[in-house]
């Protein structure tokens, strides 16, 4: 099993030559997929592993994006130095978003309260105009890594690939440890988890903070990719897309987060040739996957080979 998992390292290696085959636009779509992988990974830790129906993910995403944008624009920091601060700010936002859950708010009540957090952040982006550029948004300076300008899409691809691998490896280690077991124990039965000596509050806080950290990094990548941030990018439609990623991919599965991000980010591009039907086809795709694969795309792979069965909590 452990040796089989080592083969996962082949995936980023096989992706290295990808930019050779892609034009600028397709490369942009590939980069967008890499942005949405950590979006799904972080969201999935909170919803899939920790089992908390919290919809504050877009807030973490926006906070990460604006943190990078502001540090680059106002302080002149190069992009690569803003990635970690974006993650940390996302993590702090995650910790803040866990407060209702720590007060015992659950399920639909938690969903609506955390949803409000996302909308509140949108109000901040609009109102804090001197810093965020208000409704018109802000132009993000050209990103760079150690003086190496990410001025073509293929360079962003490599920078993002490194970040995505780091995020997945770290999250995988976390989820396969006593921390990850505590998360799924809380999801399964909080009372029983506490009876095992697990301080459930601390782990709920940690799960939210880790989710926020990872999604904050995704936000930083998003700022580097699109070069322009506006409040409209962080609205409810965005939240629904992010939620669809983990539902279609598979709750509580890292493999699922990757597959969901890839399919739902790439699909609209395939449908672009059929103008007028894009939204319809996109909606049908989600319905069909959920209908026939209620445990997500990850369950297909898990059935094919146990090495892909990466979740502790199997529905």
């Amino acid at each position: 099993m452990a040796t089989g998992r080592r083969l996962f390292w082949l995936i980023p290696l096989l992706l290295l030559p990808v930019p050779i085959f892609l034009d600028q636009y397709r490369q942009y779509v590939a980069n967008l997929i890499l942005v949405y992988v950590p979006v799904g990974v972080g969201f999935n830790v909170v919803v899939g592993n920790l089992g908390q129906l919290a919809f504050s993910n877009v807030a973490f995403f926006g906070i990460g994006a604006y943190t990078s944008g502001i540090l680059m624009l106002k302080l002149g920091l190069p992009w690569w130095l803003t990635v970690l601060p974006a993650g940390v700010m996302g993590g702090v936002a995650g910790a803040a978003a866990s407060v209702p859950a720590l007060r015992g708010v659950r399920l639909f009540y938690l969903a609506i309260m955390t949803l409000a957090f996302g909308e509140l952040m949108r109000w901040v982006y609009i109102r804090w105009e001197p810093v965020t550029g208000g409704s018109f948004g802000m132009a993000v300076p050209e990103p760079s890594v150690l003086g190496w300008a990410l001025n073509v899409e293929s360079r962003k691809f490599y920078a993002f690939l490194v970040l995505v691998v780091v995020v997945i490896v770290l999250t995988d280690r976390l989820l396969r440890s006593r921390f990850g077991r505590a998360f799924v124990a809380i999801r399964g039965n909080e009372e029983a988890a506490a009876a095992m000596g697990i301080p459930t509050d601390r782990y709920i806080l940690l799960g939210f903070a880790w989710g926020g950290f990872v999604v904050g990094i995704a936000g930083s990548m998003y700022a580097a990719l699109v070069g322009h941030l506006s409040p409209a990018s962080f609205d409810l439609t965005e939240l629904i897309l992010q939620f669809a990623i983990i539902m279609v991919g598979g709750l509580g599965s890292l493999v699922g987060s990757v597959l969901g991000a890839a399919l739902l980010t790439a699909a609209p591009e395939f449908f672009r040739d059929l103008p007028g039907f894009e939204e319809l086809l996109f909606a049908l795709l989600i319905i069909v996957v959920i209908l026939f694969l209620p445990r997500g795309l990850a369950s297909l792979l898990a059935r094919a080979h146990p090495v892909f069965d990466d979740r502790y909590f199997r529905e």
């Binding site: 006593r178 921390f179 039965n189 009876a195 000596g197």
Partner: protein, 254 residues
């Protein structure tokens, strides 16, 4: 030396209702103490009060001489008071092995950053915990269930996994909430043997809530009888069996 568990004048109130009313008793290491009484007598509430799941209104709960009545459930569990649940507290969507690993939580002390860095020490800690969890299941003769989902095991196997999980950290005190419910008679006997051995061979103090009266009478050193939240009898099984107040508690005034 203080008793393993000492309840002194413990009361629990839910609004105007007094669920447990001034109950006192002690449990020594290696002693099996059964808690019996009609439905609604306050047995489960008293259990929850000891485990920290309901607030103790008055009185004290001492574990090895230290007051624990104001601690949270996870703090009490970390000190070595472990419990099983009446309606099955297993994580059904985790395997038997993973359930036991969760039970070992407080002993798997891999640090957060060491884990993220993938240090050999943190890997070693995790691997050792997994080995120990497998050994514990094998010791109770349910090693073959290790990689099966808990929800897919038979009722008897589930009960055993839950006991293994509660015992994983070698706790000095075990609270068993109706462990025999739903078990066939031969399985009940086996359970009785296991409970006796845990107390006599490992010196674990056991508090047992149980309606299966033959099991209670055959394994217990002491029986505490509750009725309407009050202790009405406390003695050996034979003494309690002969006590008129116990009959009254179950049958009403005769």
């Amino acid at each position: 030396m203080p008793a393993l568990l000492e309840l002194s004048d413990v009361s629990v109130r839910f609004g105007g209702l007094v669920a447990v009313d001034g109950v006192s008793f002690e449990v020594a290491a290696g002693e099996i103490c059964a808690l019996i009484g009609p439905n609604g007598a306050g047995k489960s509430t008293l259990f929850n009060a000891v485990a920290g799941n309901v607030a103790v209104g008055a009185g004290r709960v001492l574990f090895r001489g230290d007051p624990i009545q104001d601690l949270t459930p996870h703090e009490i569990a970390a000190r070595g008071v472990r419990r099983t649940f009446q309606n099955g507290g297993l994580f059904g969507h985790l395997t038997a092995l993973e359930n036991v690993l969760v039970g070992l939580h407080t002993q798997v002390d891999s640090g957060f950053f060491g884990l993220l860095a993938g240090t050999p020490a943190s890997r070693g800690t995790e691997a050792a915990a997994t080995r120990r969890a497998r050994d514990l299941l094998a010791l109770m003769e349910i090693g073959h269930t290790a990689d099966h989902l808990a929800a897919e095991l038979s009722g008897g196997q589930q009960r055993m996994v839950e006991i293994v999980r509660a015992l994983a950290t070698d706790p000095p005190l075990l609270l068993l909430d109706e462990p025999a419910v739903g078990l066939a008679p031969p399985m009940r006997e086996k359970l009785g043997d296991i409970i006796r051995r845990l107390a006599s061979e490992r010196g674990i103090g056991i508090v047992l809530i149980e309606h299966a009266i033959e099991l209670v009478m055959s394994v217990s050193d002491r029986v505490v009888v509750l009725n309407y939240g009050r202790k009405v009898a406390d003695g050996t099984p034979a003494e309690v069996r002969a006590d008129k107040k116990v009959l009254e508690a179950y049958l009403g005034h005769v």
